[in-house]
């Protein structure tokens, strides 16, 4: 497995020998970088500006600043789009799924990596399979299972399968992390009479903090963006997360482009703000997660 110990730390001057750079190459490089910057940013800025315009102005003057900054677009989109409801639901789903995955996969990863777990190799294969199969491979029977146990169209219909689906990744991430710790770590505590839970809580868990941080970020992005699972299991409008809820709002107001643009902006804002505030942790978490598991 690739180790990425160097991800978070800035390379020292010694690791970064300054190559003799010619001005032309440097200019070409920045030209390319700025071109990509435009490709990634212009669509977002276009929609953001459109959100402040009246509908006809979006067509007439796509790139200009709004003649009048219509903040009221957001208020209207917020209420007709039921964003209070959808964003609130997303917070509930995301918090529950992230908490569930993080807790359960930390326990399971610890058992797999540092404790004498009976049947360990079989379990590893079982979870590896879960890492490789798509959601669709169990989506249809799961729909009917949830229906039969009366969880369909409740919050649980997304929360419980949402946790189960992301557990294999979470477990491998935490297992990989715990394997990096010395295996005799808990022994001193055990000799001192701590039971297994105390050993885990007081000795192991504090050392797992970096692994947990990567886990939280990965699971948070996944849970917030999850689409097909809530699309199928919670169709009741009042229970939808923002990822599916806004689709129906957009479908209903296609012609009112000012409202759509404001809605898109509202839907983007929570995640974008969190990302911009924590961008380094985000990127470190995502890379660590992708490469370690």
């Amino acid at each position: 497995m690739a180790t990425i110990a160097g991800t978070g730390t800035r390379p020292t001057a010694a690791r970064r020998p300054q190559r003799p750079t010619n001005g032309l190459g440097q200019a070409g490089k920045y030209l390319l970088l700025i071109l990509f910057l435009i490709v990634f940013l212009v669509p977002l800025i276009w929609v953001l500006l459109s959100a402040f315009k009246a509908a006809p102005e979006i067509t007439r003057n796509p790139f200009g600043l709004p003649a009048v900054w219509r903040w009221e677009n957001f208020a209207e989109a917020w209420s007709v789009g039921r964003f209070d409801r959808f964003l609130g639901n997303s917070v509930i789903y995301t918090a529950a799924i992230v908490a569930g995955v993080v807790a359960l996969s930390t326990f399971a990863g610890y058992a797999l990596a540092m404790l004498p777990l009976p049947g360990r190799d079989g379990l590893l294969v079982l979870f590896l399979l879960g890492l490789m199969v798509p959601f669709q491979s169990f989506m249809i029977p799961l729909y009917y299972l949830l229906r039969d146990i009366h969880l369909l169209e409740t919050y649980w219909a997304f929360i419980l399968p949402g946790i189960a689906f992301r557990l294999p990744f979470g477990i491998f991430l935490m297992r990989g992390f715990f394997r990096g710790l010395p295996s005799e770590l808990g022994d001193a505590a055990r000799v001192d009479g701590a039971n297994e839970w105390q050993t885990f809580r007081q000795v192991i868990l504090p050392l797992a903090a970096p692994g947990l941080a990567a886990q939280v970020i990965f699971q948070f992005v996944w849970a917030w963006r999850e689409f097909l699972m809530p699309l199928v299991f919670v169709q009741t409008e009042a229970l939808r997360p923002v990822s599916t809820g806004i689709m129906f709002f957009f479908g209903r107001f296609t012609a009112q482009r000012d409202l759509i643009a404001a809605g898109v902006t509202i839907a983007m804002i929570p995640m974008v703000v969190i990302y911009l505030l924590l961008q380094r942790r985000f990127i470190e978490g995502i890379t660590a997660g992708a490469l370690k598991s």
Partner: protein
């Protein structure tokens, strides 16, 4: 009570909650898929009629499934190669942390965190025949004759959606390759330069081999994603126009939840799963052999 017995018991208790949830909500329904696929169940009747391999036989002769499979193959090839190539270029450009590094990295990764519906709406707007900026831009550079309703044209709709997906995916590939590059030895590159290797040779023979692990992981992820793609297509075209953007995943959804053909939908989902599993395993095996 011996201490090792205590530790084994603790291990089981630590494992149990995750295992229980996993077995009930994933393993059990996964196994049920195989049974569902052998029936013609419509989701409503109390009993499921066993039809043997009839669903799979029908699938083999289903023209729509062939079209979906072809679309998945296009998606896998282009949707893997393009993010890898673009992500690699971006990672190489930012490798030695030039001025503005954080700004560039932040923006390049940004699309990856957006909701699929948001990406879908933004790109549907870009492609819109009336006010979309793509047609406006094409007019501006004198290519007005190629402008069209990109998502409404069966010949180009798949590629139009694919470009939106690539736009959103590149940042993810880029940050992982960038992290991988941190472990590539600069000394080896210097040595190769002194030995007279040009830029492309250094990249191909020195950088890429050292990135092999990272490239394998990213490629496998993209491959699996390509065979399973659903969200962005469902949001932008729902498989249309005229089925031009159907994939195995959108067919599964339609069969099971629109047409009430639960058995047939299960069969499609299993074939899709098998193909993506086989493809990723074969890919990783080939890579191992290539390096061994």
């Amino acid at each position: 009570m011996t201490q090792s017995w205590q530790r084994s018991r603790a291990a089981v208790l630590f494992m149990l909650p995750a295992l229980a949830l996993y077995l009930v909500f994933m393993v059990w329904p996964f196994l049920q898929s195989f049974w569902f696929a052998l029936t013609d169940w419509n989701g409503a009747t109390a009993t499921k009629t066993f039809v043997g391999l009839a669903n799979f036989a029908e699938l083999a002769g289903d023209g729509l499934f062939r079209l979906a499979l072809r679309n998945n193959l296009v998606w896998v090839v282009v949707g893997t190669a393009a993010p890898l190539a673009i992500g690699m270029v971006l990672a190489l450009l930012l490798w030695n942390r030039p001025k503005g590094f954080t700004l560039f990295r932040t923006i390049f990764f940004l699309p990856h965190i957006l909701l699929t519906v948001v990406i879908g709406i933004i790109w549907s707007w870009i492609y819109n025949p009336i006010f979309g900026i793509l047609n406006i831009w094409l007019d501006g550079i004198g290519l007005g004759q190629v402008s069209r309703g990109w998502l409404g044209d069966p010949d180009v709709a798949l590629y139009a959606v694919l470009i939106a997906a690539i736009w959103a995916e590149v940042g993810f590939v880029f940050v992982i390759l960038l992290a991988g590059l941190q472990n590539v030895s600069r000394d080896l590159l210097e040595a190769a330069t002194i030995d007279g290797a040009n830029g492309w040779q250094r990249f191909k023979d020195v950088t890429v081999p050292q990135l092999a692990n990272v490239l394998n992981v990213v490629t496998a992820l993209l491959l699996i994603g390509g065979f399973n793609v659903f969200d962005i297509i469902f949001v932008m075209t729902q498989g249309g126009p005229a089925n031009a953007t159907q994939t195995m995943a959108t067919m599964t959804y339609d069969a099971a939840f629109t047409l009430n053909r639960v058995g047939y939908g299960s069969a499609i989902s299993l074939v899709m799963t098998a193909i993506s599993l086989v493809a990723s395993v074969v890919f990783l095996r080939l890579r191992e052999r290539g390096e061994g």
